[in-house]
Amino acid sequence: MKAESATMIADVVERLRPKDSYSIWIWRFLVGAALLLFWQWAAGTLIREAYLAKPTSVMWRLYELFATGTIWVHIRVTLTEVVIGYLMGSFLGLAVGFLLGSSRFLAVVFEPYVMAFYGIPRIALAPIFIIVLGIGIWSKVAVVFIQVFFMLFINAYAGVREINQEYLQLARIMGAKGGLILRKIIIPSTMPFIMLGLRSAVPYAVVGAVVGEFIAASKGLGYFINYAGSTFDSAGAFAGIFILLGFIMAANGLMQWLERTVIKWRRSEGMIVQG
């Protein structure tokens, strides 16, 4: 039996090893290069360059923005809004999700309100936040907050609801009480849901900040892109978009690393898919 299990572990390790490493990366690079080349050719032939900047001019603009340092203030503002809103949103979302998840009474009372809020596009609340909180960073923090809050709330709530009841019953029979059950069973069992929520919330948070800045702001990447667009500065708009892309990719990488570090106990099944 022992030998059989040892080979099983070997199988798992084998399955987890990325088999796609070398040739796949070459193909990925080729696809990216082909797209960029097509873009380079199309701008100026298919579409006027005034409307669609060439990738080379976007790169040049990026270099300029960082070399002169003019972009930093925008990055800093957007980053501040995203980070504050994200932290507040995930903290409160988790807390409320756990609370409603573990109390049938609260869940039943609040369900229609939650569903109503969940149903409306929360980004539509941005103008109201701006009326209430002004055009500074706090209105955008609020937009980010509301986006992240719901993401985390829904995931934590579902996670608590999905806990295997036998796990809890056995824990009680084995003598465990409230605090230990929370720490050793409820929280770890919910962790995959929480991590999924934290990860899915990143793009929503960035969208929240940028849309808020589109509506009314004097700083921030959203403001920068919007301004570039309204002055027909295609290269500038693309430069801003590329910075946002870098943002989201870096945050995603961080989240994946966090997830792998926190959840070591699960067979990696690539089960996490989100838009």
Binding site: M1, K2, M8, A171, I173, K184, W265
Partner: protein
């Protein structure tokens, strides 16, 4: 076949158990009605049963006859609709922490390593880290899982997971262990190995075991007594003593004529229940 009462083999394992405390478990007129929706389901009806301390008793019956319900009642996970359930002479009122419960699924916590899983009941009792590690390590070695202390449950085979869930129960030394078709999900060979290991463990640790199964051969192989239940609503149809000598060898016990004789007599009672269940469905 006799009515539920103490067994006649009290001295078999060198213990004279005849006082009132000898009944580890006593059910008197216990019924359980579930109302999942509009309809009522009578899971068990008027079940009376006494189980002597340190004995190995199997509950067998057609599927859905309320075998598991009896275990849930004893563990205090659900309440009886009628009747009294006593545990060492005291009624079961809430969650019963004096039992060990081994379920059909191994139910090791997936986020804890084998070592942490086995230590869990001691952690719940506030026992110091060193002592926990020591005791869990001993049990892990005893069932041949040394080297897998830091493996997560998904990295273990079905048999290893089952061993883990059994020693997690043994570590806090409950007087009674309830086992709900514990070897159901295992393949036939692993099952035999686990049956033998369970018998060996039981011989060393002296527990009262109430073992639910739908496999008659398994029930006879392991038990001092086999309790046959009727189809739903489950009632006790008969209690059979299994006078096969111990220690038993699960790999050869089926070959003995005694085994066959016992099997035939219990099967006679058991088969009618299964057949009438088929008839009911047709």
């Amino acid at each position: 076949m006799r009515q539920p009462s103490a067994s006649r083999n009290e001295t078999r394992r060198g213990r004279a158990i005849d006082d009132a405390m000898s009944s580890a478990i006593r059910l008197r007129g216990v019924s359980k009605i579930y109302t999942p929706g509009e309809t009522q389901v009578r899971a068990i009806e008027n079940v009376s049963l006494e189980i002597r301390g340190d004995s190995f008793v199997s509950l067998i019956g057609p599927s859905g006859c309320g075998k598991s319900t009896i275990l849930k009642l004893l563990a205090g996970l659900t309440r009886a609709s009628a009747g009294v359930i006593e545990f060492w002479g005291k009624p079961v009122l809430g969650i019963n922490k004096q039992v060990g419960y081994v379920t059909q699924d191994h139910n090791l916590y997936p986020w804890l390593t084998l070592q942490e899983n086995v230590e869990f009941p001691l952690l719940a009792r506030g026992i110091a880290r060193e002592e926990r590690q020591h005791q869990a390590g001993d049990l892990i070695r005893m069932v041949g899982l040394a080297g897998f202390e830091n493996a997560y449950p998904y990295e273990l085979s079905g048999g290893m997971q089952k061993r883990g869930s059994i020693i997690r129960t043994l570590i806090y030394d409950p007087g009674v262990i309830l086992m709900d078709e514990p070897f159901g999900p295992l393949d036939a060979q692993t099952r035999l190995v686990m049956q033998q290991e369970l018998l060996d463990l039981w011989a060393r640790k002296r527990k009262t075991i109430l073992f639910v199964t739908h496999d008659l051969a398994e029930a006879i192989t392991l038990s001092d007594q086999v309790v046959v239940m009727t189809r739903r609503p489950g009632q006790i149809k008969g209690i059979f003593d299994i006078p096969l000598a111990r220690p038993r060898d699960v790999f050869t016990i089926h070959e003995s004529p005694e085994f066959h004789e016992i099997y035939r007599s219990i099967w006679h009672s058991f088969r009618d229940e299964i057949r009438s269940q088929v008839g009911g469905r047709l």
